[in-house]
């Protein structure tokens, strides 16, 4: 099709294009300079994975097409794919209009068809999105004028595209031998004569001017994500999800955590530019769902807004620190303390925003710089310092649970293959001591060579690190790493996902590299190798509760289920729809085990309700709910206790189910016995 831009037209187009793209570049340059206010951070390792992410997450929209969001996810994918195809068409229109050249391939039949198919898909998706916003407001979604402006602009683009194609076909502007755009050809018979020629020119100009207006508007809008998602996905963290960032040479630092926007990395600021305000993070947040102050989307947007508000001033004065990101006006400390670091937000974010890192960086500021952690958190940290465990139990009693059970310490059995890192909960909490005993029996029955550290073990540091006390974590980790080295430990078993996560994913930051397994992974291996024999066991329906630090943080969904499937008499029940990657936190992660929980409903009470609701929906109430985490167990026990249903729904650890079915042994301690 020939563009209606002869002579003066081309000049006008050139001026408009310069204005549109100029406005875009001006604003984009500013945003880039703001972003560079952030701390430096290397994000270029593992290129292969980064390109694969671009294909899977960006091009194929994998993270949008998650279970509960499949329809709206598809609508978005159509708009996105349409945007890619039609942008090529638009580039062709502009190039053709200004210099009379065509973009290669745009004259092919495949491309002409693709443009029209997507124009229709985009238009339908836009209609769906508009109706949804106006009449079926999704919970937590941030509805603002911006969204409607964007939808409107896209709609104008699509309508004008179809109009100019139809008019082009009707007025025979599509040259003979060229492929007619199918939708255009369909509508062309309704148009004709000079009106078609005028419509063609009008629609062409509307289309092109809208594109340019779009470009100018984009960087002011959340729709900027169409540009920023590409780098945001590319530069996403190469750390394992469960690992927080190491503060190197911590003793030489002057400030700690996010004292200023300058202390957040450039990538964390890019996260803010990329947020689409879709609200999926908030939709899945256990703190928000139970009435806490935290809203993960707000955390991201508060940081972005602060950067936009103070960016100019910070650029002007290189010594200015600006408002601390965790301040009383926008992101309040109680929001940050409500986070359980369960990663439901990170899991769901379609554009790979890293919420937990921001929250922890701000907690680091509150805890280490300002000494303003909640008093109960401070108590837990003091306990870790003085007693090596957050409960403040006497360190000398750490291995009392093992007395008389034939569980050797490394000092007694230096050639043991595995270290069983018991963890504070299983060492000191009476309920969880039963889990440690169960694992010791299983390992004994399977003939696994293992030993514990006894009183030489100390808290792995996870609660301190997640409460923002990186310094204490490093001290604890260092002590354990030194003890491991003294006994030449190479393989570690942890029955606590928090111990497992920090030893497997975080100790390498300090040079501690081991082969780490969670107990349920090892038990699954032992079962499949035939090293564990079962003899009967009661028939019972058991729901499985995914611990966040096994599931979402470490992708261990199958092993615990496989273990349960292998147990005679156990009927596995899924806590639908809150299971696997949508599993709902017990409320104890992120150091919350030791903090007061207010306001609103307790997270663990909500979790118990979800289990009961799932049982109702499936027509069978489970007799037990099994987990693989000591904190989940404590929280579930408290939950069923508070609801007075401990006789109907018994929380257990999967290891206890295994131990109670070990061949030929009747001395197993029964749950709640």
């Amino acid at each position: 099709m020939t563009p209606p831009t002869s002579g003066a037209g081309a000049l006008v187009l050139l001026v408009l294009a310069a204005a549109g793209f100029g406005a875009f570049l001006y604003r984009a340059g500013k945003l880039y300079r703001y972003l560079r206010l952030g701390r430096n951070e290397q994000r270029t390792g593992g290129l292969g994975r980064r390109f694969r992410d671009e294909v899977v997450i960006y091009l194929l929209q994998r993270k949008l097409l998650k279970r509960p969001y499949i329809v709206r996810g598809l609508a978005h994918a159509f708009i996105f794919w349409g945007f890619i195809v039609i942008t090529i068409g638009t580039a062709d229109l502009l190039l053709n209009g200004v210099v009379g050249r065509r973009v290669p391939g745009t004259e092919s039949a495949v491309f002409v068809w693709a443009v029209d198919v997507f124009a229709v898909l985009v238009l339908s998706s836009i209609a769906l999105a508009g109706v949804r916003r106006a009449f079926f407001k999704p919970p937590r979604m941030h509805i603002a004028l911006d969204g409607y402006v964007i939808l409107g602009l896209i709609a104008v683009l699509m309508v004008s595209l179809v109009a100019l194609e139809s008019a082009g076909v009707a007025s025979a502007l599509v040259a003979r031998g060229q492929t007619s755009p199918p939708v255009g050809a369909l509508l062309a018979p309704f148009l004709g004569g000079p009106a078609a020629v005028a419509l063609f020119a009008g629609a062409w100009w509307v289309h092109v001017v809208t594109v340019l207006a779009f470009a100018a508007y984009l960087p002011q809008s959340k729709h900027l994500h169409i540009v920023t998602t590409l780098p945001n996905v590319f530069f996403r963290s190469e750390r394992p999800r469960g690992a927080l960032r190491l503060i190197e040479q911590i003793e030489d630092q002057e400030t700690f955590g996010a004292a200023s926007l300058r202390d957040l990395s450039w990538k964390q600021h890019l996260d803010g530019y990329t947020c689409t305000e879709c609200g999926r993070c908030s939709d899945n947040c256990p703190a928000l769902a139970t009435g806490k102050a935290l809203d993960p989307q707000k955390i991201v947007l508060d940081l972005r807004d602060l950067l936009l508000r103070e960016g100019d001033q910070l650029l002007k004065d290189p010594t200015a620190a600006g408002t601390p990101p965790a301040h009383q006006l926008a992101t309040k400390p109680e929001e940050l303390w409500a986070c359980t670091t369960c990663a439901a937000c990170v899991e769901q974010c379609p554009v790979t925003i890293e919420h937990i890192d921001k929250i922890v960086d701000m907690r680091r500021y509150l805890t280490m710089q300002e000494a303003a952690a909640p008093p109960e958190a401070q108590r837990a940290m003091t306990n870790i310092e003085r007693a090596g465990n957050p409960w403040g139990e006497a360190a000398s009693t750490r291995a009392d649970w093992a007395a008389g059970r034939g569980v050797p310490t490394f000092a007694e059995k230096p050639d043991a293959e595995y270290l069983y890192f018991v963890g504070c909960a299983a060492s000191f909490d009476r309920r969880n001591q039963r889990v440690a005993k169960a694992l010791a029996r299983i390992l004994g029955a399977a003939g696994v060579s293992f030993a514990i550290l006894g009183t030489e073990e100390t808290c792995n540091g996870d609660p301190a690190r997640r409460m923002g006390n990186e310094y204490l974590w490093q001290q604890q980790a260092q002590r354990n790493i030194e003890t491991f080295a003294a006994y030449k430990v190479r393989k570690v078993i942890a029955s606590c996902p928090h111990c497992f996560n920090t030893i497997a994913n975080e100790y390498p930051q300090l040079g501690g590299r081991y082969e780490v397994v969670h107990a349920l992974q090892l038990v699954q291996d032992l079962i499949s190798e035939g090293r564990i024999a079962f003899s009967g066991g009661e028939t019972e329906t058991v729901a499985y509760h995914d611990p966040c630090y096994l599931g979402r943080h470490n992708g261990i969904y199958e092993d615990p289920r496989a273990v349960m499937d292998a147990l005679p008499g156990v009927e596995l029940m899924e806590i639908e729809p809150h299971h696997r990657e949508r599993g709902f936190c017990c409320g104890a992660g992120g150091g919350r085990m030791w903090m007061e929980e207010q306001p609103g409903q307790r997270v663990n009470h909500r979790r118990v309700e979800q289990i009961l609701a799932a049982g109702e929906a499936q027509g069978t109430q489970p007799a037990k709910v099994a987990s693989g985490c000591p904190f989940c167990l404590i929280m579930l026990e408290e939950g069923v206790g508070a609801k007075g249903i401990q006789e109907q729904l018994r929380p257990v650890d999967v290891l206890e189910l295994v131990a109670s079915r070990l061949g030929g042994d009747t001395t197993v301690e029964r749950t709640n016995a």
């Binding site: 911590i250 003793e251 002057e254 400030t255 700690f256 805890t367 280490m368 710089q369 300002e370 000494a371 952690a373 008093p375 401070q378 108590r379 940290m381 003091t382 306990n383 003085r386 007693a387 403040g392 139990e393 006497a394 360190a395 000398s396 009693t397 310094y471």
Partner: protein
């Protein structure tokens, strides 16, 4: 105002203390040492005063061996401005009066307007160093204090009593023994910890005890092991309640 807090390093409350083979002392191996809890409250009260009145200087002092410097550093990390250690060979066997005498020379040297002590140390629970130091200085003292505030012409002092409190006023230098602070003792900031590591802690010689100890420990015994609890299981809840009440009255004698 210049405040001096006298503190004592004691086995931490999380430590399981064992009686040594001599039967007169405790095993110190493997013990975690920390500031006695009432002394921590005293530090917190002093620091809260400093938070409110910026020109306040808070010093800490203890009489003890080299290990006690850790307790002083902890106090510096919490935000105290200066620390000094009264030490010497005899410091371990000073007793309450000897400790008071040793601290007296530090107080005379440092010249605080106000001296705070915990109301008692959590290891021996004697509660006598504070009053003895006041006596040695010839200062008035108020015990079991939970709060103080500078007012016109002196210090207003809240002293806890059974079921309530009394408000006292001290016109000049005074020694208070502290029961509790309103807030929990603060957790040190990391810049505070780093600064405290680098601070000089001057040592002062402890005078040899003037008169020989008049009291001594003859023996120590751990508390008797706790017996197992009693659990009522199954059966009639009302009968359980009656039985429980009877046991609480006749056996435990708490009703």
């Amino acid at each position: 105002m210049k405040i001096l807090v006298c503190l004592k390093q004691v086995p931490d409350s999380t430590t399981r203390v064992k009686v040594a083979p001599d039967g007169k002392s405790v095993v110190t191996d493997g013990v975690t040492w920390s500031i006695s809890p009432y002394d921590e409250y005293a530090i917190e009260l002093a620091l809260e005063h400093k938070d409110a009145a910026g020109d306040t200087v808070v010093g800490v002092v203890t009489a003890g061996g080299a290990r006690s410097k850790d307790a002083l550093r902890q106090a510096l990390a919490m935000g105290c401005d200066e620390a000094s250690l009264v030490t010497g060979d005899a410091v371990g066997s000073l007793g309450a009066l000897g400790t008071a005498a040793a601290l007296r020379s530090a107080v005379l040297d440092l010249r605080p307007d106000l001296v705070l002590c915990g109301k008692q140390a959590s290891d021996d629970d004697q509660g006598s160093v504070g009053p003895a130091l006041a006596e040695a200085l010839g200062w008035p003292h108020v015990s079991v204090v939970t709060k103080f505030a500078a007012v016109d012409g002196g210090l207003q002092i809240w002293k806890e009593t059974e079921g309530g409190h009394e408000i006292w006023k001290a016109p000049g230098q005074v020694l208070l023994t502290v029961q509790k602070s309103e807030k929990e003792p603060r957790y040190p900031s990391l810049p505070g910890i780093m600064k405290a590591k680098k601070k000089e802690i001057p040592e002062r010689p402890a005078d040899a005890p003037q008169d020989a100890a008049t009291i001594e420990v003859l023996s120590m015994e751990p508390p008797p092991a706790r017996g197992g609890g009693k659990i009522f299981k199954d059966g009639d809840v009302r009968a359980h309640a009656t039985e429980l009440a009877t046991l609480l009255r006749d056996e435990a004698k708490v009703l």
